[in-house]
Every structure is written in structure tokens, then in C-alpha cells.
Symmetry: C3
């Protein structure tokens, strides 16, 4: 069985947006009971992560860490066409994921108790972000 | 063909544990000759990596690098509920992988000569870690 | 449907080599219309990334960023057997990807407009690099 669906969303600013429920709904709709679910983000200045889903301070610390690692306006960067957050956004994307592949067990994403799936917007301003969710397996 | 199996292990401390043989055994048991093997770790303070498997000093250097990049007790972090290694563990996980998808060729993981699959425990103390291995392909 | 193909290339130096067209050709040859394409690199001192494909300065900045993050000859590293770029190459690989899984829609890789697939050579000298491309899905 194969099931494919677009998943689009509008980000509001730099930061994480949980998409666990949206992806889980597509898995349910697919009817697949055992298999794999691939989420692919079609952009290079946002990314996907699996992150702790209980305490929001984890994602605040993560944001601060990323800002220290690849600061906006870093003089190291020559690619500043779209602003000081342009190249840091590409770096953050490359150090995280464009694609996540998660197992499906008993018709649901087999995430651990504390795992959530997040879209991480790396640009300061809002963007429309488009993903493709592909579900493969047995019904 | 689809084959799914849990793989659990007890870590002893921060550091890497090779799981190449354990994953390879599941691939053999599956009977799949050509396809894909997905390993998914159900935690956010440990991760999976493909790493050089010959010289242990590679993984010692990797550990030192991670400790410099995201030091335990870094004042940058507000999320310190579970101790000074809590947030660094989340950071290390996000910068590496919760999921690895490896091709199967002639009934075995098609890793390169120097590639091993490792669970990387990021917490200082031992933890029980649970993975799901999903094998899909042709028999 | 399952289709598997080797993809080999010779790198010329440290830096990125676009492989989007080569992978896309294998997808076309597979006849798969909807599904997933996994690219796996069989080495631990080079890696795969999805990166902005329009402005080469992005990949120059990325190279400079990696050189700052894990500098050649860093005294932190004990594993220097193959030279000062040996351990930095392993670090860069682990922080990026050995495997990428990309959806196939209407018989083609469903990359975003600005996404390219790149092999990133992390060693200073040229190397022969070998990949396995696995295509699964419906015809």
C-alpha cells in the first residue's frame, strides 16, 4: 500500500511548529497498519526535527543554541541576498533534516512518549512551507 | 515484504554502542533480499549515527567535539530539570539522527567497509533505549 | 516495485558535487511513479545534503562554516592517522547525512524549486565515492 499527501502550513516567525497530529492523521487516513511514514520538507531554510514534546523550554534553548552556532549577520557569510538570517537558515537546515522516516506500528506513528515531530522555521519572517507525506506498508 | 522488530538495549553511560550486528540479524531474519531497513530510536536524548568502525579514537574525538559544541551545564540553557546533561543531550540528538534508512542488497545491510551503525547515548547515566527496525523489500 | 542501482563518482577535492540529475535519472529508469527514493553513501568522510541550488555562494559559506566548526588540525582530535582533515571529515559526516529519503511524485523526485541533492566531500584530496540508490513504490 502507498499513500501520498501534501501537508502545507504557514509559519508565523522563526521557531518550531508541532506537526505530529497532522502527520498522524495522514497515517490514519492511509489505512496502513505496519510500515513507514516519510515526511519531506520542500525548502532549504526550514527543516524537520524530532524533539522533546513536553517542556517548551527545550525548544527555546534549541533556538538559542542555533543562534549562537550560526548567528544572523555573521561576517563569515557572503550569501546575504535575502538578509542576515538567510545563510544561517541554510546552515540550520543542513545540520538538521529535510526528511524524516518514522515507523508505523498498529496503524499509528511509533514515536516514543516524549517525541514530537516539528517543522522548524529558520527565517525570521513568516513563510508558506510545503511538505509531502508518503506512507508505505501493509494494511 | 514487510518485517518489523523491536530492538532494545541498556546503555551504560554517555557514549556509543555499536548495533550493526543486531540490526543485520533482523535483516537476515526478515528474508528480504533487496530493499530498505529503517532503524528508529524512540528517544530524544540519545541518537543514531553511521560512524567509522575501525579506530575507537574516532568516537572518542566525536565525544569531545560534542562536549565542546554543547557543554554540560552551559549557562545558555534554561531547561536543566534533569541535570546539566539534559539539554546538551537534546541538542546532540537533534544534530544527529533519530532515524536511519539503509539499503539492503543481497540480503544484508549494504554498509561501506568502514561504516558501523551506532546508538549514541547522550545522557551521563545509563538508560534503557528502545528502537524499532522496519525492513521492506523483495524476498 | 523495487529498483536498485549503484551510483559512483570521483570527487576532485573538498566541496559539494550536485547529484540531483544522476539520482533523478535512476528514478526515471525505475518506472516508479509514486514512492520513495533512498540515496545512501557508503563512506564516513563524505556525506549527503539537500541544499539551495541557485547561488553557489551558499555552498561556499557552508564550507567556511564547517571549517570553523571542526577545523582541520584541531588539537582536540587524537585521531589524525590520515592527516589533519581526517577527523573533521568524520564530524562533518555525522552532523549531516549518510542517507536521504526523498518522495517520488509523478515519476520524479519531488524536490522543492530551490533544492538540490549534493554529495559533500569532506577530505581535502580526491576520493572515489560509492552510493546506492533504492527506489520503491508504484509504477
Amino acid at each position: 500500500m502507498l499513500y501520498q499527501k501534501n501537508l502545507d502550513l504557514q509559519t508565523r516567525r522563526r521557531g518550531t511548529v508541532e506537526i505530529t497530529d497532522e502527520v498522524g492523521r495522514i497515517v490514519r487516513d492511509s489505512g496502513v497498519q505496519s510500515g513507514l511514514c516519510n515526511v519531506f520538507l520542500r525548502h532549504t531554510s526550514a527543516s524537520l526535527i524530532v524533539c522533546e514534546n513536553a517542556d517548551p523550554s527545550v525548544r527555546e534553548d534549541l533556538e538559542r543554541f542555533a543562534a549562537r552556532l550560526a548567528p544572523d549577520g555573521d561576517p563569515l557569510f557572503g550569501h546575504t541576498l535575502e538578509g542576515p538570517d538567510d545563510m544561517p537558515a541554510h546552515i540550520r537546515s543542513i545540520l538538521t533534516q529535510a526528511a524524516l522516516t518514522i515507523p508505523i506500528v498498529q496503524g499509528a506513528l511509533a514515536l516514543g512518549t516524549w517525541q514530537g515531530v516539528y517543522l522548524w522555521e529558520h527565517r525570521v519572517r513568516p513563510h508558506r512551507r510545503s511538505m509531502i507525506v508518503t506512507v508505505m506498508g501493509e494494511g
